[in-house]
Amino acid sequence: MMYMKKIDLKKIIIYILVIVIICFLKKNYIYAISTGEASTLVKDILIYWGDNQVVNIIWFLPIIFEIFVISKKYFYKLNSFDLRSKNRKKYIKKVLISFILESFCFILALELSQLFIINFFIPNSLNINIDDLIFILKYVIENIFLIFEIMLVALLFKKLMYSIIFFLILNFIILISSMNLSLISTQIYIPFVNIYFGSGNFLVTILIILIGILIIKKIYLNYDIGGME
């Protein structure tokens, strides 16, 4: 009951509005980038990278949106430890479980709502099969991973905004380099970026998340909360 009260209705309405605007923008370009086959449409709605940078940015908007919403909330949580949580070991466990569950639900809802809203704009365009569902889940995990990495770096830098900008630029550089300049071999596993090539092994991502949790625990347990007076 109390958990429901934490949800700010005003925020929810703004989020829905943002998603609808993103979907409307995506809908305008979806015919131009898609081959028209129903089986690839799910992937095309969620992932696209082409020559037109404006279109690329539209496809990156939901990712940036979820990064801001989730990472901001959890970075703030990690920096406002409440003594009622008894000690930091217990607190970090609670925060990480809550982060994984909430980011999974939020990103999944964001991906599914994009699919359904675009299906509303272009009626009966979607035909979701089991492969699509696996793809959606992989994509959600990759996105959780990206946010998790940002939080990890933010704890090191002690600045969330620097970390978000750092990671977005890094991902753009890797993406552009690997696609256009062939500087980075696609054989190398690059989480998140790899999903854009459609061959990501998400088990590696889970493994990296687990290693990250250990690192974050180590950093956080010796972390000074609050700075200079």
Binding site: M2, K5, K6, D8, K10, S80, F81, D82, L83, R84, S85, K86, N87, R88, K89, N222, D224, I225, G226, G227, M228, E229
Partner: protein, 213 residues
């Protein structure tokens, strides 16, 4: 409860913010910390609550190290920074939320806490609509509402009017009678003079000794 700060030093970015602090504090007493801005009062409270970790030294409560042992910090009530209140929730809902962290629920008790602090009439008002003084009262309420053995209050009377200051003073006196250990940092000499059994002067992260105000 016996709180010991043992040879505690903390260096941040090359600056010594706490320099070899030694204290021995016992429950049933109110201890005041007086010093100018940036003297180290808040940093000392951050250290005692392990929000910062020492460069050297230790904090010991009843023989247990807060740095090395898994000490239960929920026995410490803290007024230091914004305790993560939700602006769109009422004062009552915010306190209930904090109370529920340890799976406790008692609406009647929360109402009583709010009444005692003088927020009874405004308990159903949203936190974002609270005045500065009301916000401060709610912060104090969350620090004392769970019968904590050690209560740490940083500038407790900031932003409060005369009547509210009196309420807070009475609450602190009541906590003392309940044999709690209370630490207060303040610029306000009256607060410290009226409430504290001992007052320590802090300057440049060092305890300069006891003073009379």
């Amino acid at each position: 409860m016996k709180l010991k700060v043992v040879n505690y030093s903390k260096k941040i970015k090359g600056k010594m913010v706490l320099d070899n602090v030694n204290l021995e504090l016992k429950s049933g007493n109110v201890y005041g910390f007086f010093g100018r801005n940036g003297s180290g009062k808040t940093m000392l409270f951050r250290a005692i609550t392990t929000l910062i970790y020492p460069t050297s030294g230790d904090i010991i409560i009843d023989g247990k190290s807060l740095i090395n042992d898994d000490y239960d910090l929920s026995q410490i009530g803290l007024l230091l920074e914004e305790p993560g209140f939700y602006p769109h929730l009422t004062g009552f809902e915010n306190l209930s939320m904090l109370y529920e962290i340890n799976n406790k629920k008692n609406d009647q008790y929360i109402n009583k806490v709010l009444e005692d602090i003088g927020l009874g009439d405004n308990s159903r008002k949203k936190y974002k609509e609270y005045s500065l003084g009301m916000k401060q009262k709610l912060r104090i309420a969350q620090a004392i509402m769970e019968d904590q053995k050690l209560v740490i209050l940083d500038e407790p009377t900031n932003g409060l009017d005369e009547a509210s200051i009196k309420i807070v003073h009475n609450i602190i006196k009541k906590l003392k009678k309940q044999n709690k250990l209370i630490l207060i940092a303040s610029h306000n000499k009256d607060d410290l003079r009226l409430l504290c059994d001992k007052i320590f002067q802090i300057d440049d992260g060092r305890i300069c000794g006891e003073i009379k105000l």
